[in-house]
Amino acid sequence: MHEQSKEFELTAEEAAALDEIAGALGRFGQERGNLIPILQMVQERLSYLPPRAIELVASHLGMAPCEVYGVATFYNQFRFHPPGRYRIKVCLGTACHVKGGDIILENFERKLGIRDGETTPDREFSIERVACVGCCALAPVTVINETVHGHTAPSKVEGLLLGFQIERERKEREDKKHADGESQDH
């Protein structure tokens, strides 16, 4: 149950995004038919729906916050926890299931030490199981952020995660170099 879960603190970026959302709401009419498009817009900017965003949306549409919450929790798309920076979505459509998609899911869970629906404490990775993403001929499929990875064998899981780690370390190095470079300029 979502309401029992602990509320995540908003980061500074998220708080700023929330202000922007308040402005963006003006582009939408106040008819109830706009509810789902609005929630989609909010989630695109915040990547989840924190309670404050739900209140904002409710007041824009003149609805009770609980009604907005009731609608949002009906749909798979909406999240109530912040996802990881790398969102791992393991497809468990029929074709992926037949080709061992659940084994792929387990591998991610094991490697990251979290269960599906959870986010690693450093907010780097989150794992979700998703219904068919429609790339059945490439089964089993994993979607990480917006990239589709086809034919993901269990042994490929480690490679994928390692790739992200290397990418992250390289970025950190570059940021550091960049920062060092700047400090030298001054």
Binding site: E3, Q4, A64, C66
Partner: protein, 237 residues
């Protein structure tokens, strides 16, 4: 007016009215949970008010059947009873049977339906699937008991009918569907103390005014003498 026949008894009814309403007004009890006379729209979700209508290949729900001239209805055929028993057992498979400590005891619709269908209150060979927690304390005045709730939605529909800003709603989906008072914190700002429509309409006491002295259901405590088996009318709102 139209004449219809319910279990061979001729009944006068207004065309367009719901058959379930006509049955109930004429003293013919058809099991039901989600239907409410005072609300026009019926969700037809509890799937209990099945009847057989002449000309229909399979039982239909009485709440969605409209009165028309010469409608011939049977309320107690074996097929109707089979479906009703199946629905009741499914509801009981997610129900914590603890009547002794439940304020709805003796006024509970599940008890009434079980008595009519002769099923008892056990889900038979279905697995008992209960939820955690036993009681949800989010609303300042009312508690919600998920393992009593039959999700008939009377509370949700009544609240929507009475208040421009409803205070409770369904949340989540499928087997996890629940009734929630999301976002209600302050008892001063909400009309609930005076309304109580949701509590009064609940057929199974899944919504009940908080009584901090009452034992938490599912807790280890023995039933206290002043709540166990007592008349809910006295303890009621």
């Amino acid at each position: 007016m139209a004449t219809i026949y319910i279990d061979d008894k001729a009944v006068e009814a207004t065309p367009g009215d719901s058959l379930l309403s006509v049955c109930l007004k004429n003293g013919i009890y058809v099991p039901h949970l989600c239907y409410l006379e005072e609300l026009k729209e019926t969700p037809a979700s509890c799937r209990l008010c099945f009847v057989e209508v002449e000309g229909e290949p399979a039982p239909v729900t009485a709440c969605t059947t409209m009165v028309r001239e010469d409608l011939r209805v049977r309320t107690d055929t074996p097929e109707v009873r089979r479906l009703q028993r199946a629905a009741l057992r499914l509801l009981l498979s997610v129900h914590r049977v603890d009547c002794g400590r439940c304020p709805a005891n003796k006024h509970c619709d599940l008890q009434r339906i079980a008595a009519l269908l002769g099923t008892g209150l056990k889900p038979k060979n279905l697995a008992l699937l209960l939820r955690e927690p036993q009681v949800v304390r989010v609303h300042p005045l009312f508690d919600y008991y998920p393992n009593r709730c039959v999700l008939c939605g009377r509370c949700v529909r009544l609240c929507r009918e009475r208040h421009a800003m409803p205070l409770l709603t369904f949340a989540d989906r499928g087997f996890s569907t629940t009734v929630t008072f999301y976002g209600q914190g302050n008892s001063e700002e909400i009309p609930c103390a005076d309304c109580r429509a949701c509590v009064k309409a609940c057929p199974v006491a899944a919504l009940w005014p908080r009584d901090s002295d009452a034992p938490v259901p599912g807790g280890e405590e023995e039933p206290s003498p002043n709540t166990a088996g007592s008349d809910p009318a006295e303890a009621g709102p």
